[in-house]
Amino acid sequence: MTAELTRRELIKTQAAAIAAATAGVALPASAQPVPGGVGALDIKWSKAPCRFCGTGCGVMVGVKDGQVVATHGDMQAEVNRGLNCVKGYFLSKIMYGEDRLTTPLMRKRNGVFDKEGEFEPVSWDEAFDVMAEKCRQVLREKGPTAVGMFGSGQWTIFEGYAATKLMRAGLRSNNLDPNARHCMASAATAFIRTFGSDEPMGCYDDFEHADAFVLCGSNMAEMHPILWTRVADRRLGHPHVRCAVLSTFTHRSMDLADIPIIFRPGTDLAILNYIARHIIETGRVNEEFVNRHTTFMRGAVDIGYGLRAEHILGQEAAGAGDPGRMDPMTFEEFREFVGQYTLERTVEITGVEPAFLEELAELYANPEIKVMSLWTMGFNQHVRGVWANHMVYNIHLLTGKISEPGNSPFSLTGQPSACGTAREVGTFAHRLPADTVVTNPDHRHHAEEIWRIPHGIIPEVPGYHAVQQDRMLKDGLLNFYWIQVNNNLQAAPNNSQETYPGYRNPENFIVVSDAYPTVTAMAANLILPAAMWVEKEGAYGNAERRTHVWHQLVQAPG
């Protein structure tokens, strides 16, 4: 046997042993790792959270000679218990792409900055000098409302906190928003309107306590595979457990569905109201809970679509002026409202088998069944996303099935720190750290004391949100703009009409910090190379609000 083969066998044996331990499966003795042998691989192992989604899997990161050469799921991590999904393959690879950015690049012509010029490598000093000069010029000429920053749920907690402090306390501008606006705004708004506080009340341990899982607008099998494995283990290990999957099309999660429901697009709201009606009309409202902990409110309807004010669809919508309006209503009025959604009418609207609808409604109505509702962008990017979120809470609150082990409405996040950074440290246009807001004088006062800045520095008017930022860039009212850790030209709505013209508006100076030359970076005036993941110290907060901190393990290139 050659030395190389021995080494390969050793690595492979170790790989199999770790996987077997993770699965709780015994390996034949011949395949056990050689004692002390793995040490010969000379790899230093450290912990970090995976950076690819909101699940927050614990990862062991193997470093040799300053490079990440191996990763495996952390068996002691309570989230993933040793597993990684297929995205784990790219944890180390993503850091070593050939087109990794290593030096600042500025558009120049004849040796000086020119928005119409080509990218040229420049020193950090030159990059920062031009950037500072442009920022100062905009502040001088137009004031703080003309500077802005756009980040994401991939910022570390520390970076997001630094961003909110720099923008509000330093530049005196609330024009800071993350791309989490695109995905989680409806979840966050419904959390605030329903509970007064943003983020899920449940946690992943609910998976092992639930008797039923209801997926709506979520394909967990492919999008949250590690959490799906926990759902599957519960379902397959306990014969009484039921799984309902609601979608507009058949996908992988349907494989495990006892109650597969394919509905006409947009009609899920009728299903949710039907479930509420079923709970009420079969006498299964948890009256004690409802009386003690809830009030009933009627939301505004005909609220338009958040388009520019002059858009015809907004002009025609009677409620568009105050889409967040709520008026008190009684339980009887609520009962009357959802009473329209009889089984027959709901079948007619949705096209779903009546027996499946009844089975689904019983999962919630039956007080003996602990139920977990799980949703992602099918709700959160719904045309009526806030409503969809509210309506799930309605059925959990009517039955008191909330904040108990296994009874858990659960909005799953998509980014590694949408909860921990984007929401918790206040990177939204209206928010300050820890669920406080710029519109509240006491909150501003408190933030100013913590940041040791004079009172009155933080502006009270919310800044431009993500979509508004693009419009204001296009209209020339937002002129200095720094984009970090996201690729907005791939993701923004109405890209070709608002975002791209906004970035290319000659009045604007656009800075993009990124590790790779994304389409957004290529549309910038100045690109700053960025360190990623374990190239820096950081912390993420995952979908169940668990905070993971990691050390810097390797040096960023360049």
């Binding site: 390969r8 077997a20 000679d65 490079q67 799921g73 990684n84 070593y96 595979p225 397959l236």
Partner: protein, 86 residues
């Protein structure tokens, strides 16, 4: 050092109980894939190949087999990074 890039990873494939034998046979027939253990509907495999992409593709193919509930990676090691540091 003129060694070809060598990548190895391991994974746990969870399978619906009635289909374990059929899925196992299908996995064993794949090039570069080895079954190391199989118990309680969970199949422990290693995947070897020349690139991360190839390994990821193989596991994605397994994930799409009928009766496979999940196919999750556990361990990943890329030897080429060690041999050709950049």
């Amino acid at each position: 050092m003129a060694e070809a890039p060598y990548h190895v990873s391991s994974a746990v494939v969870a399978v619906l109980p009635h289909a374990v034998d059929a899925v196992r046979a299908r996995i064993e027939a794949m090039a570069g894939v080895e079954v190391h253990a199989c118990e309680n509907g969970k199949i422990v495999i290693t995947i070897e190949g020349g690139s991360t992409q190839a390994l990821g593709d193989t596991l994605s193919r397994i994930a799409l087999f009928d009766h496979v509930v999940s196919a999750n990676m556990v361990f990943e090691h890329a030897e080429e990074l060690q041999e050709n540091p950049t």
